[in-house]
């Protein structure tokens, strides 16, 4: 049986060249479908990746109860001190807790294309860098604590105007110079960073937005959370940093993913009709050839399988071409969506998804034609012109 499938399929593929353009319908149809699907998904994947990279399971973030974002949260100085003394926080070499009081605010920026937008200005305390091993200064120098200075992420530099070292950013009560740039490989890369305490004074604010801590171990979250949530003086929520960003990332990219799936599904339906069309045509063109095989004693099943295999091979080829185009056009490109600055990604998992879609279309599109090929009476097929 396997041998028969092999022989019939090999024969199929050898005759493919004579049906080249016809077969290209499947290749092009799925190429376009998967190309569009993966191009759209590269935005979602890139954004999710940036957020996923930002969240370290070994860290936890504290925000005030009910806050969905750092911006909505507010933590007073007194509360912050209590939180940073809680058990479960890893101590730095100097004996102080690896915890950082952070500040967030929206800062208007001018994008490279001339449109106006916002990005996040983030405050780092003395432990801000120690908490984040992913943080690397790439040019210039670190801002000095107590000084009105900023450093800028490489993503922000690539996306916005006036973000070079030496440029100034307008903040409340003055312009702050940019003194360095950094790389983090995550969502922070599209933001600006300054000294929390200096920002607090400049902004006339009295409360922090959030507190980020390094846990003594990944399973120390429960200890830390218990200490915070059982303290009646605090109304705070403790979330593992990776969970926090997974949720934020899903929120930011959810609608885009839905759009990509809808557009992809519509195109896949179109490609399915194209696939059916081609496979019916292939079966009818090869009617006599198939009948001859059947007359020689080849079974109906190997014939049917060979038809499906042909469709699958063409569809997967198309999907891979589409994926390659989507990868070449998008992967690694700096992108911006609202306040999210990130790098577009076409990871292997997306390519795999594209190929699975193509497989599904090919199976659905090859099934009916293969049945027709297998069931057509040999005599009729041989007599047909």
């Amino acid at each position: 049986m396997l041998r028969q499938i092999w022989i019939v399929s090999a024969l199929n593929f050898k005759s493919l060249t004579s049906r080249f353009w016809q077969s290209m319908v499947i290749v092009v149809g799925l190429g376009a479908t998967i190309g569009v699907l993966l191009s759209m998904m590269s935005v979602t994947a890139g954004m999710r990746q940036a957020y996923a990279n930002s969240g370290d399971p070994g860290r936890a973030i504290v925000v005030s109860q009910g806050a969905d974002s750092e911006g909505q949260s507010s933590i007073t100085r007194t509360d912050a001190d209590v939180i940073m003394d809680a058990p479960g926080i890893k101590k730095d070499t100097d004996g102080r807790p690896l915890a950082d009081r952070a500040l967030n605010m929206g800062v208007p920026v001018l994008r490279n294309n001339g449109t106006k937008g916002y990005t996040t200005l983030r405050g780092f305390g003395p432990k801000g860098v120690a908490l984040r091993p992913e943080f690397h200064l790439v040019a210039g120098r670190m801002f000095q604590f107590g000084k009105r200075e900023l450093i800028v992420g490489v993503g922000a530099q690539a996306t916005f105007q006036h973000m070079k070292i030496g440029d100034h950013v307008i903040l409340p009560n003055g312009e702050w110079p940019i003194v360095g740039s950094y790389h983090t490989g995550d969502i922070l890369e599209g933001q600006l960073i300054g000294d929390t305490e200096t920002m607090l004074t400049a902004l006339n604010r009295t409360a922090y937005n959030s507190i980020l801590v390094r846990l003594t171990a990944q399973d120390a979250l429960a200890t830390f959370r218990k200490a915070i949530t059982t303290n009646p003086a605090l109304q705070m929520t403790v979330t593992r940093h990776s969970d926090w960003y997974a949720r934020v990332g899903d929120q930011a990219s959810g609608l885009l993913a839905v759009l990509a799936y809808v557009v992809g599904a519509v195109m896949a339906i179109g490609a399915l009709f194209g696939c059916l069309n081609t496979m019916y045509a292939a079966v009818s063109t090869r009617g006599r050839e198939i009948a001859t095989l059947r007359a020689l004693g080849y079974g109906a099943f190997p014939v049917a399988v060979s038809v499906i295999l042909e469709g699958v091979a063409l569809a997967v080829t198309g999907a891979l071409i589409g994926a390659a185009i989507a990868w070449a056009m998008n992967d690694g490109h700096q992108s911006v969506w609202g306040q999210n600055i990130f790098v577009l990604r076409v990871p292997p998992s997306l390519v795999l998804m594209g190929v699975s879609w193509a497989l599904a279309v090919a199976l659905a599109g090859g099934l009916l034609p293969s049945i027709r090929a297998a069931r057509r009476p040999v005599v009729d097929a041989l007599r047909a012109t």
């Binding site: 016809q22 149809g29 569009v36 911006g71 605010m105 179109g270 069309n277």
Partner: protein, 387 residues
């Protein structure tokens, strides 16, 4: 026209192929209708934007950080500014936190700003005279089952009164018309009513200003001038012209371009499919075409037949597909969760239909070109002999 049966017979020679081709084309044009229709909506929104209006908000947006009311007077002193409207708001809900409403509370000069709104002078007078009154647009009235004369009670945990209460009660003065591109409707109230009820520290603050200019050509300059005049003050501003604010590319991505690319990918797909189908049909019936030529059909006639055979599924598919996209976009509001409101919907305007027609024509022409050329160059004797 008299050849229509001939074309029809040719297409129906392989009904399965004809139907599958038609369905493919239809799907591609459904996508076309949705994407290009979306662009039409974006353009209409941009078109409807007033070229003499500027929105001024606090530069460092923290959501609920206000500007002082005095900023409105200060902006009105800038040459070229005719009026600076001001707004505070009450974000809240009706009985259940799920039922979110957003009340915009405008100052007395709002009638000089929002001249394009379907609000009569008498209704504006009512809004100014009855301090606890609100105007509710039809969309919001339908959504919450409100009618003129009803009481509207809104709970707003974020905006507390001086006495600590979060309950705001209003009287509905009138149900007014919606603005086409304000897809979620609006509820407008009286700034002074809210302001007097707020704690002293929160009074005389505004969330945003709507600045009208007297010379539309200078709007962008004036927006910049406003920001400059507030620079280095505790109340730095961020001003954006309505034209820019309503521009979809303001999100940072040229969505209109993405839409066009998606539509193009779909067209590419059907071009291939149709071209192939026609090429195959001509190949299969080569001898028949030779017969037609033998009995006196001209080259142009035969080519016309092939073109008609390609054009019929293209135009029919375009018609059905674009029609389907209209139906689908009508369904979108029912598919969205109520909390998200109504998004802008794709609209099939005349221009979208014209573009769809042109695309269909192009696909039909391009796909019948090569087979037509072959037919034109055919050697009748060879073709008839079946070689």
């Amino acid at each position: 026209m008299k050849y229509l049966p001939l074309v029809w017979a040719a297409i129906m020679r392989k009904p399965a192929r004809a139907i599958l081709t038609l369905l493919s084309v239809m799907i591609a044009f459904t996508l076309f209708g949705l994407t290009i229709g979306m662009n039409a909506t974006f353009e209409a929104v941009q078109e409807a934007a007033k070229d003499n209006r500027i929105y001024t908000i606090p530069r460092f947006a923290g959501g609920m950080t206000p500007l002082p009311l005095a900023a409105a007077r200060q902006i009105e002193r800038i040459p070229g500014v005719s009026v600076a409207g001001y707004q505070n708001f009450i974000p809240g809900y009706i009985t259940d936190p799920k039922n979110r409403v957003f009340l915009q509370m405008y100052g007395d000069n709002a009638r000089k700003v929002f001249t394009e709104y379907p609000i009569t002078p008498a209704q504006w007078d009512m809004l100014h005279n009855e301090r606890d009154g609100v105007l509710v647009s039809q969309y919001q009235a339908d959504k919450w089952h409100l009618k003129t004369g009803d009481r509207l009670t809104v709970i707003s945990p974020l905006v507390k009164k001086a006495d600590g209460s979060t309950t705001w009660t209003f009287k509905i003065l009138a149900i007014v018309g919606d603005m086409a591109y304000n897809t979620n409707g609006y509820i407008w109230g009286n700034y002074d009513y809210q302001d007097k009820a707020l704690p002293l520290a929160k009074q005389s603050q505004v969330m945003n200003l709507q600045v009208q200019t007297s010379d539309a050509s200078r709007t962008a300059d004036i927006a910049q001038q406003i920001d400059e005049s507030f620079a280095n003050s505790p109340n730095t501003t961020q001003s954006i012209t309505e034209k820019a604010a309503f521009d979809v590319s303001n999100s940072g991505v040229d969505i209109a371009k993405v839409d066009r690319e998606i539509a193009l990918a779909g067209m590419f797909m059907v071009l291939f499919l149709t071209a192939n189908g026609i090429a195959q049909a001509v190949r299969e019936r080569f001898a028949e075409f030779a017969t037609l030529k033998t009995i006196g059909f001209s080259d142009a006639g035969v080519v016309g037949l092939v073109f008609a055979e390609a054009a019929l599924p293209c135009f029919l598919g375009a018609l059905l597909g674009v029609g389907l996209s209209v139906g689908l976009s009508g369904m979108i509001p029912h598919l969205m969760p109520p909390s998200m409101g109504t998004p802008p919907l794709p609209r099939v305007t005349v221009m979208v239909a014209v573009w769809a027609g042109l695309c269909a024509l192009f696909v039909a022409l391009a796909s019948s070109a090569l087979p037509a050329l072959r037919l034109k160059q055919m050697d009748i004797a060879t073709a008839l002999s079946g070689r």
